[in-house]
Structures are given as C-alpha cells and as structure tokens.
C-alpha cells in the first residue's frame, strides 16, 4: 500500500506543471501525507508584511486536497474541483507552510475534503479549506 501510495503521489506531483510553479512537494508517512510549500518571493501578495498571496494559500490547500485524493482514489486523470471555501485565519508569513487533508467522505463520484495549513506551530493553523471534488475514473 505504502509504495503504491508513494508512487501515486509522485506521479500526481510530477505531472502537474502548476505544482512545480508553486514549488510544493509532499511527504508520506504510511498513508498520512503532509504537503510542503517552501517560501518563495514569487508567492508574495503583500510585500509590506511580507505575506503569502491569498490565492497562493487557496491553491496550496486545493492542491493538497487533490494530492491526497490521488492516493486514496488513484486515477490516470486529475480529479476536478467542484467548489472550495477558503478561510483565512492568520497571515501566511515568509516561512515554509505545511498542510494536511482530511477526506471526510469519499463517495462513488464526489469527495468532501477538509484541509488545514500551518507554519511553525501545528496548533495555530493560518488557513483552512473545505471543498467538494468530482472523482475521475480511468474508464
């Protein structure tokens, strides 16, 4: 299971050009995935603080959900986002960000996923996402 999951994840992350644009990667411990977004200048939305762009935070959370789904529901095609709600709790500072996805429900066609992101303190998340995703099948 673990090797397969690692392979699925690697395939997903390698295939999507936008993942490389963000510079994100993911670590897998058993079936638990942690997405990692190192800080980079091109991700900044507020140069005064400086802080990560709200859209970058949303995109990182969304890609984390899709990466977790790529492990749980392997498919040659990318699953599709139906809707997402992003909650901004604190500014995303100029630090490495981490995120974990919680698959609340994976149905036959639709998945409901919650994601939480933090930086230096796991108990102080700076953003969260709830979303629905349409699952692609290989057929």
């Amino acid at each position: 299971m673990s090797d397969d999951a690692a392979q699925q994840l690697e395939t997903f992350l390698q295939r999507v050009p936008y993942v490389r644009f963000l510079g994100m990667h993911a670590e897998l411990a058993g079936d638990e995935m942690t997405a990692v977004l190192p800080f980079a200048d091109h991700l900044v939305g507020n140069t005064f603080l400086p802080a990560l762009h709200g859209g970058v935070i949303g995109a990182f959370l969304e890609m984390t959900a899709l990466a977790q789904l790529s492990i749980a529901q392997p498919s040659a095609r990318v699953h599709k986002t139906i809707d997402i709600t992003i909650e901004y709790l604190r500014p995303g500072r100029a630090l490495t960000s981490y995120a974990r996805a919680d698959l609340r429900k994976v149905g036959r066609r639709i998945a409901n996923v919650h994601v939480e992101a933090w930086q230096d303190d796991r108990s102080q998340p700076f953003a969260a996402l709830r979303g629905h995703f349409l699952l692609s099948s290989d057929s």
Partner: protein
C-alpha cells in the same frame, strides 16, 4: 472606465505590477471603476493544472479571483490609506477553462461597511455568458487612522 480617478488607476497598477504573485502569474489590467475591477491572466505552459488537456490550473483561477476581489475592494474603499485581509473566499467551478485559454475575472464590491467588504466575482475564458467560475468573498478593511 476612462473616467476612473487617478488614485484608482495608480492602485490598479500597483496591484498588477507591484505584487510578486501577480507579476509571476502574468496578470494584466483590464479595467477599474468605483467598487469594480477586472484583471486577466494569459495562458502559459507552466500554469497548467491538467497535463492531459492543457487547461489552466484551478489555483491560478483562485489567485486571479482573490486578486480581482481585492482590487474591487480597494476601488470601493476610496483614496484614504487602508489595508485589507481576506476573511474567506468561496469559489464554484462550473467547468474547466478551454485548453490553452487564458482567464478574465471581474469583481464587484457590492457592500462596504466601515470594517467589512462583501465582494462577488466571475471568471470566464472566451464568452462572458459562459462562466468557468464564480466567487464570493468577505474582506476586513483596516484604516490606520481610525
């Protein structure tokens, strides 16, 4: 859109060219007016989210919608200095963009209180009557002198 005040045009220029994420994604200014803003992002190979189809990533649309909502918020807030932070952003994806197509977004801050702005936005690729995504956002407005 030609009658937008100077401060609004300057704010738009700052938001498009002066924000690293906006510059990195290649956002372009489309228009600004009171409580309204419009931006576009041209298609680019490295912004693709689905390598099978060449469709631009949802995350790029998320950034564009967030940024355009912030611009509408700024265009509603007036010439006095302020800062904003996004409280939440909901995005509905109606359909994927066309392969190798850029995206245009338009946002309207339809209500601004002393502290909170409520914004709606729409995004499309080719035809404005055939949307790819809609967004609803709430922003908090901070004015340093109050």
């Amino acid at each position: 859109m030609t009658d937008a005040p100077d401060y609004m045009r300057e704010m738009s220029q700052r938001m498009v060219g002066g924000t690293p994420q906006s510059a990195a994604l290649g956002f372009r200014f489309v228009s600004v007016a009171h409580a309204r803003g419009s931006l576009e992002v041209p298609w680019r190979e490295d912004l693709v989210g689905d390598p099978d189809t060449g469709v631009i990533a949802g995350g790029v649309v998320t950034s564009l919608l967030d940024h355009t909502c912030g611009m509408a918020m700024a265009a509603a807030a007036g010439a006095e200095p302020f800062s904003t932070a996004t409280l939440d952003l909901r995005i509905d994806y109606m359909r994927p963009a066309a392969p190798r197509a850029g995206v245009i977004a338009e946002a309207h801050c339809y209500k601004l209180t002393r502290t909170i702005g409520f914004v709606r936005a729409e995004a499309w690729d080719v035809d404005k009557s055939d949307l790819i995504a809609t967004a609803q956002a709430a922003f908090v407005l901070n004015r340093p002198h109050t």
